[in-house]
Amino acid sequence: MTDWLSSIDWTSVLDNVPWQNAIAAVIVVVIGLTLSRLARTGLRALLDGRVSRAHALLARRVVTTGILGLTLAAALDQLGVQLSVLFGAAGIITLALGFASQTSASNLISGIFLIGDNTFSVGDTITVGGTTGEVLSIDLLSVKIRKFDNVLVRIPNETLIKTQVETLTRFPIRRIQLSLRLPFDQQVERLTEALLAAADRDPLLLEEPAPIVSYSGFGPSGLDLNVFVWSTREDYLQVKNNLQANILDEIRKRDLRLATQEHHVTIDNLAEDSSPFAPLDRT
């Protein structure tokens, strides 16, 4: 491209361009820039509030870039530059750039797919590969999120396309799960009653879907239980905290206890002589 541009004798080109064509080229550029600006403003008015911010941004960029490209081509045509040669050179350049910037191109294409996919939008809270935060922007190359410790994280779009993404704020309500273990010597019904009473104490917790206690199996030191409750996504953390505090309170009130990690070792049929715990001094 550089060789092609330097091979052009611009003095002779300009000398051979009639002044009317130069004025026409300037007018084309002015009209193109004006059209581009009008299109940007019009699209903003048309799309804002109707589609997501990411979609609106993509539409504005595609339309304005298209108009500016056509304007440039028309202006060069007025100046007598042969566009077929330019496009041929541009094709070679694109190929070269494509090889050189595969990652960027991959992110760019992933970004377009991501915006079209509409899995999340600006303002949502997402989890990507263990990183959770609020989406600040969805750009063509990357998504920027703010973690809850106020750290900005830039995630390349290609990563987002390949990785599991959880959108925590997509639906109005969320389920909260707490796992507990009840010792074998405790009554299951009493703990279930305590858990449901704890859930009933919090007005932020949703009445329906109703809280559920389910038994998931026998663990090494007791019966494993799960309690499931629902809250609005805004109250998720508060409800989770309240539930744990209320469960502790209800368990204490009922003199119940939860299982801790216990290991019982039983040693049978050990001969007195071979017992490792046998007294050394038998006299």
Partner: protein, 294 residues
């Protein structure tokens, strides 16, 4: 024992004394009270003109509302009472400091000497749960009355600016929809869903809604939940000083959805509007209004 506070929409002392005597002589509500014995809720919903520095405690439903005027400042604090108060009351508090330690403060440029209390309905739809499952046979219809808890809006009287609003009852929230993705968060209340308004006890902190349910399907319609679009209903006072809303009609369709319409009150009825709806009902909308379980 705190003495009752005199309050009034007018500044005349005689008017205040009249209201004071009304409050003092208002009997406690019972389920079978006659209309003449009922505590009128309207005595609670008057503009308040306490003297500068005075502190008031208002009780209605489960809400305890403490107000204090301090020059161009209003202090507002709420608590939930353990016991429900059926007879609305206002009284003055001689030592308000402890109650108002964490009160919300509203500051005005000039002296704001009056607050208006306005009844409104909840800011979300309400799910009324009949005590037992209700069934309406196919091609049939019925009318039930459902009470929904009121909210109180506190407004600066001169400019009518909304300061804050509170529910008069502790409302739990619930989800109502086709599934966990499609629906909305509503308030939940239990109802007897009685067939006649006269059979309801007089509840000054509730507004009654007449609900006609039409089952347009061939199958019996059983439900345990009724979704009331109270955000789209206005509040009226009827001839018995009871708060009521416009009647609504739920027309159940074959696809499980219902058409909801807000019917106008009869022209000849003695209803006086006391509170506005929060938002209009979307016209021609079909939504899930009756359900048996989540």
């Amino acid at each position: 024992m705190p003495r009752r506070f005199s309050y009034s929409g007018a500044t005349a002392a005689s008017d205040a004394l009249t209201l004071l005597s009304q409050i003092l002589t208002t009997p406690a509500m019972t389920a079978d009270s006659k209309p003449d014995d009922r505590p009128t809720p309207l005595t609670w919903w008057k503009p308040l003109h306490p003297p500068d520095g005075a502190c008031l405690l208002g009780r209605m439903g489960h809400l305890e509302l403490t107000l204090m005027r301090n020059g161009s400042e209003w202090l507002i604090h709420t608590d939930w009472a353990e016991e429900r108060v059926d007879t609305p009351s206002w009284e003055d508090l001689p030592t308000p400091a402890s109650r108002l330690e964490d009160a919300a403060r509203f500051l005005f440029r000039d002296s704001a000497d009056a607050l208006e209390l306005r009844p409104v309905l909840a800011d979300r739809p309400v799910i009324a749960k009949p005590r037992t499952e209700v069934t309406i046979p196919g091609d049939n219809d019925t009318v039930v009355y459902i009470g929904t808890p009121l909210w109180v809006q506190l407004r600066e009287q001169h400019d009518n600016d909304l300061l804050v609003e509170y529910p008069l009852e502790r409302l739990s929230r619930t989800w109502f929809g086709r599934n966990a993705m499609d629906g909305d968060v509503c308030y939940s209340t239990q109802t007897w869903a009685r067939l006649a308004l006269e059979n309801f006890p007089f509840l000054p902190d509730y507004a009654m809604t007449r609900v006609r349910i039409r089952n347009h399907t061939k199958r019996p319609l059983s439900f345990t939940h009724i979704r009331l679009p109270v955000v789209s209903l206005s509040i009226y006072r009827d001839a018995d000083d009871r708060f009521v809303t416009e009647p609504i009609t739920l027309e159940q369709k074959d696809d499980g959805l219902a058409a909801i319409e807000v019917d106008p009150l009869p022209r000849d009825s003695k209803h006086e509007q006391v509170g506005d709806r929060r938002q209009p009902l979307p016209s021609g909308s079909l939504m899930k209004a009756l359900d048996r379980f989540f």
